[in-house]
């Protein structure tokens, strides 16, 4: 039995005329035109290159924000300390119903903010009696003692000041925290903390996970980004500094972050990715999805594209 013709799956056999076509000439012209257009755009518009910030620039520009962030890293109340997988078990994982791949895969890039961001870098410094004593006091304290210092610190954290190269924490119940923060701030302002954070894996490294996580916990990086219209509610990561198109092709991905429930859910990132995965699967599998594959025929835009062909047929 002859199979019936399905207009959205099958194509009619073309028996019409053919026209001369020089595929090599076409390709060569395309490369030359695109190359010239690229040169012209590069000459006229250049490209953005805002210098990377460092822990040194951050701690010198806003030492209070740095010290507060470092304090949060030490007592475990920072964003990274409570992030969860893949860095630690400090926070809840994002999920969609029973789906929570973040949780299933667990910790793969272990980050202990107190140890990695504060204690270990301080230990790498030349020995100073006050610093050594403060580190020993913190590391040898029981969990309940550390918690009581942390609780006292949290109450006064917003009143931290910085003057005459000294961080002042207005409380006497915070144990060694002020000493640790002062030495870490001094280390950061000298540039030594940048180096200590990237060289934790040895002499050679190309992994900036820890300094970037530390930077992302402070307000400084986000404030600079917001000034550059890069905030999450400003279509965030698809943009780049200056008046450049950025990754405009990510508009749909970024769009979801602007509307509920994506921008209000604790699992917003996972919801956005889930939505995009479904839409992506639909895009790839259009030819196999009845109804969806009929859309072009219903839209009739093809009649504009092939208008000469249809005009000749009439």
């Amino acid at each position: 039995m002859k199979k019936s013709f399905r207009p959205d799956v099958d194509a009619p056999e073309y028996k019409g005329p053919y026209a001369p076509y020089d595929i090599i000439k076409e390709g060569t012209i395309a490369v030359v035109v695109v190359a010239l257009l690229t040169v012209a755009l590069a000459v006229v518009f250049s490209s953005p290159d805002e210098k990377a910030i460092t822990i040194k620039t951050w701690s010198n520009a806003d030492p209070v924000d740095f010290a507060m962030t470092a304090g949060d890293e030490l007592i475990g109340s920072s964003g990274v300390a409570g992030y969860g997988a893949p860095y630690n078990n400090g926070g809840p994982s994002q999920s969609w119903g029973f789906l929570s791949p973040e949780k299933w895969l667990g910790v793969h890039i272990p980050v202990n903010t107190a140890t990695d961001f504060v204690i270990d870098p301080l230990k790498s410094q030349p020995t100073k009696p006050a610093l050594t004593a403060a580190i020993d006091q913190w590391t040898s304290a029981s969990a309940s003692t550390q918690s009581s210092w942390a609780a006292a610190y949290s109450k006064v954290e917003s009143n931290i000041t910085f003057a005459n190269d000294t961080v002042t924490v207005p409380s006497s119940k915070v144990g060694p925290i002020p000493v640790l923060l002062n030495y870490l701030t001094e280390m950061a302002r000298s540039g030594a903390l940048d180096q200590a954070l990237v060289t934790q894996n040895g002499f050679y490294t190309t992994n900036y996970t820890k300094p970037l996580l530390f930077l992302s916990d402070g307000a400084y990086l986000g404030d600079l980004a917001t000034k550059q219209h890069l905030g999450g509610d400003q279509w965030g990561m698809m943009n780049e500094t200056g008046q450049y198109p950025g990754q405009a092709w990510l508009w749909l991905y970024t769009f979801w972050y602007q509307i509920p429930p994506y921008n209000s859910s604790a699992s917003g990132d996972f919801l956005v990715w889930g939505t995009m995965m479904i839409l992506t699967a639909l895009l790839i599998l259009v030819p196999f999805i009845p109804g969806l594959r009929s859309v072009p025929r219903r839209l009739k835009i093809y009649r504009i594209i092939w208008r000469e062909h249809y005009a000749v047929q009439k």
Partner: protein, 209 residues
């Protein structure tokens, strides 16, 4: 050596199969169906031309390492060319994709051509993204720290760490370009094997699927 023995060779069998599927006049045609007469057809070759410029400028950037372009005026110019050729690449690719959607270009046994094209688009997005986080400037710091949350939420962050410059740079300059080029080559070969999709029948819009 007997003819039969030569016929059984892997080499001769592969050659026969390739030449049978894609004879020279199909691979490098000198004519094409008269219906291929719209500006929309320009965007496929424009995408490939832009890819050529993207790879060329990327190779020049690779010559002196990932940070060279920050301190060299020539390096910055090449980076600008790299950026703008990427913008042209995506602009042309998106128009090409929607143009092919409007033509239902998967018809007539061309489903895999569509699938390879769509997957190439995705691989290209990932290639562009890894480039953005490998710039070693403020943009790369911000984009990486923002993007990590989305990727981590899928569990992918355990293996694809956007904060690891070395990993992202390797993906950007080795793994993903190989993927994009291989997929593009497959896509073009499929187009050449099957030819450009013919127009719908004139009364197609009245026919039910």
């Amino acid at each position: 050596m007997s003819t039969t023995e030569i016929d059984r060779q892997w080499t001769s069998r592969l050659r026969k199969r390739v030449v049978g599927k894609l004879p020279p006049d199909k691979m490098l045609p000198d004519t094409q169906p008269a219906y291929v007469a719209s500006w929309i057809y320009v965007f496929g070759v424009t995408t490939m031309a832009a890819l050529f410029v993207v790879i060329g400028t990327g190779c020049i950037l690779a010559l002196d390492g990932p940070q060279w372009w920050h301190s060299s005026a020539f390096g910055h110019f090449i980076n600008s060319m790299h950026l703008w050729s990427v913008e042209i690449f995506f602009f042309a690719m998106v128009i090409h994709l929607w143009g092919k959607f409007a033509m239902a270009a998967w018809r007539g046994g061309r489903s895999l051509t569509w699938v390879t094209g769509a997957v190439t688009f995705l691989v290209s997005i990932l290639t562009g993204f890894t480039g953005y986080v490998s710039q070693t400037n403020f943009d790369s710091q911000w984009i990486a720290t923002q993007a990590k949350d989305g990727i981590n939420s899928t569990g992918g962050g355990a293996f694809f760490n956007v904060l690891n410059l070395g990993q992202m740079l390797m993906w950007h300059i080795v793994l993903l370009p190989i993927g994009a080029v291989v997929l593009t080559a497959l896509h073009v070969v499929m187009v050449r094997v099957k030819g450009v999709v013919p127009p719908f029948e004139d009364n197609a819009s009245e026919v039910s699927a």
